[in-house]
């Protein structure tokens, strides 16, 4: 609700309880943001200070100024090439895993027999640390970007299938009964009820997958790669260039946050569209 502001000359010095409440809320928000920024600055400052006073060995731990220097002296085209590699692998893996996961979940929802038959396999695949499949993947699809994408897909897809299927199966029985009594086909139940009812769950799944896709991509790049941020980190550690390792990590951190925020934006839009509170 918008509060009508009176003309400045008419402002009563005494504030209403509503104004006091709103002012408190605003102050609370401001102090939270300030503390968040302060915490970051303090961390950076302390790190820099500790390094410059030789409390820590900046050869091992690096320090903010050296990270900054590395980032500013690194060949921009080269850095972008690495960023592009990682980003493309991550996005392809993310999209492929999410779509494929949803398609599989739809099939498992539709065919109860298939669901019952595959259940133990899904449980095992879920329990298995997917990274263990790394060597197999490399031998099967070759050591390159394709192996990284496959690794990303594997890490995301099982969780996607399980969580999406779970959402599909927990749709209100009453609503299904209602549609069935209207003579709806399975496909109509899917498109008119199951999918729309699960939009929030699907978006939430995307949010989880963004994180998992980064895990898969970087893991994949650790195993096989000649380019990418994961490669830079591994390369940096092997030649003991901690500045490079830290700088790549910082870039990775920024990219992952941007991608997460993008999905969070999509979430806000769907919430508006689907009239979901909170």
């Amino acid at each position: 609700m918008k509060i009508k502001r009176p003309f400045p000359c008419l402002i009563d010095r005494k504030r209403t309880p509503r104004q006091i409440f709103l002012a408190k809320r605003r102050n609370d928000k401001i102090t939270t943001v300030l503390l968040q920024i302060g915490l970051l600055l303090a961390f950076i400052g302390l790190w820099e200070l500790a390094a410059s006073l030789d409390w820590i060995d900046s050869f091992i731990t690096s320090c903010p100024s050296r990270i900054f220097k590395t980032l500013s002296t690194i060949d921009a085209a080269d850095l972008f090439k690495h960023i592009a590699y990682t980003l493309v692998e991550c996005i392809i893996g993310f999209i492929a895993a999410s779509t494929l996961g949803i398609v599989i979940a739809v099939l498992l929802w539709r065919f109860a027999k298939l669901r019952r038959v595959l259940e133990p396999y899904i449980v095992v695949l879920n329990a298995l640390p997917k990274i263990a499949l790394g060597p197999i993947i490399i031998i099967w699809v070759g050591a390159g970007a394709q192996a990284i994408v496959v690794m990303t897909v594997l890490i995301c897809i099982i969780v996607t299938v399980i969580s999406v299927l779970n959402g599909f199966m927990s749709v209100d029985e009453g609503k299904i009964l209602l549609l069935r009594s209207m003579g709806a086909s399975k496909l109509q139940i899917l498109t008119k009820l199951i999918i729309p009812a699960n939009v929030p769950a699907l978006v939430n799944m995307l949010k989880i997958n963004v994180g998992l896709a980064w895990v898969g991509t970087i893991m994949g790049e650790y195993l096989v790669s000649t380019a990418g941020l994961g490669y830079l980190i591994i390369y940096g550690s092997q030649v003991f260039k901690m500045d490079l390792v830290m700088a790549s990590t910082v870039v990775l951190c920024i990219l992952a946050t941007i991608m997460y925020l993008a999905v969070a934006g999509v979430e806000r839009l769907t919430k508006k569209r689907y009239h979901i509170d909170a």
Binding site: D172, G174, K175, L177, L178, L179, R180, S181, M182, G183, A184, Q188, K192, L193, P196, A197, V199, Y274, H275, I276, D277
Partner: protein, 250 residues
């Protein structure tokens, strides 16, 4: 010919643990325009019976016929109203009301106008672009009824549609639903465990026995009153209430 003809219906459930006889040799008919209430001890298979009438569950023996034809769910001849309104939260009231029409691929200008006309007629016209969460419980139940009426089913099945509405609104919602059904000349079968609700709304009350359900008695309620609320005020209301109540609990 009766609109609904339930003819010597048996239903036997099979589960892993056991075989349950839910309905045994059940027979009754419902005429066009009648309002029938179905009462009986809890767990006697009333909802199961509605599922059979909706064509969602085939009877083991016997037949359920509407207009002389065995029922199938896909025919859209039956409108089912459940305990909760089951409005789809992501659809506007208008789009909720069109649900049955779109499922049955009957969305034409004519059918749309009919549905919208009903929203207007029953006081929901200004809420057509609202979402279900923005409506009160009573209004939601009315919207659910209009959604059911929109595709012009031959008969309405009401499965305790008032039990999820809070007590104070229940009476008004009963009145609402009853007057809409009567003014649209619809045939309705109400399942309820609330005997006063049954006596206040129905033309006839079918009392079922406990499981396996079969018809115990059929009462013709002869209180003439314009609405359920008025009926409750009639001196003969409590007399009927007692008779039905005794019949159910005996």
């Amino acid at each position: 010919m009766a609109l609904l003809d339930i003819d010597h219906v048996d239903l036997i459930y099979q589960t892993e643990k056991s075989e349950t006889e839910a309905v045994r040799d059940l027979t009754f008919t419902v005429d066009e325009g009648e309002f029938i209430a179905l009462v009986g001890p809890s767990g006697c298979g009333k909802t199961t019976l509605l599922s059979m009438i909706a064509g969602l569950l085939p009877p083991t023996n016997g037949a359920v016929k509407i207009d002389g034809e065995p029922v199938v769910a896909s025919s859209g001849s039956v409108g089912y109203m459940l305990q909760r309104d089951n409005l789809f939260e992501w659809r506007t009231i208008e789009s909720n009301v069109m649900l049955g029409l779109s499922v049955q691929k009957k969305l034409t200008d004519e059918s749309k106008n009919y549905a919208l006309g009903m929203l207007d007629k029953y006081g929901l016209g200004e809420f057509r672009n609202s979402y279900p969460t923005e409506l009160s419980g009573g209004m939601r139940q009315r919207a659910a009824l209009i959604r059911t009426l929109a595709f012009k089913p031959r008969m309405l099945l009401l499965d305790e549609p008032f039990s999820a509405v809070d007590f104070q609104t229940r009476m008004t919602v009963c009145d609402d639903v009853h007057s809409i059904i009567k003014s649209e000349h619809k045939t309705a079968l109400l399942v309820t465990h609330d005997i006063s609700e049954a006596v206040s709304m129905a033309d006839r009350i079918v009392v079922l026995t406990k499981r396996p359900a079969t018809v115990k008695t059929i009462f013709d309620i002869d209180i003439t009153a314009p609405s359920p609320l008025r009926r409750r005020e009639n001196p003969r209301f409590s007399e009927w209430f007692d008779r039905v109540w005794k019949e159910v609990s005996l």
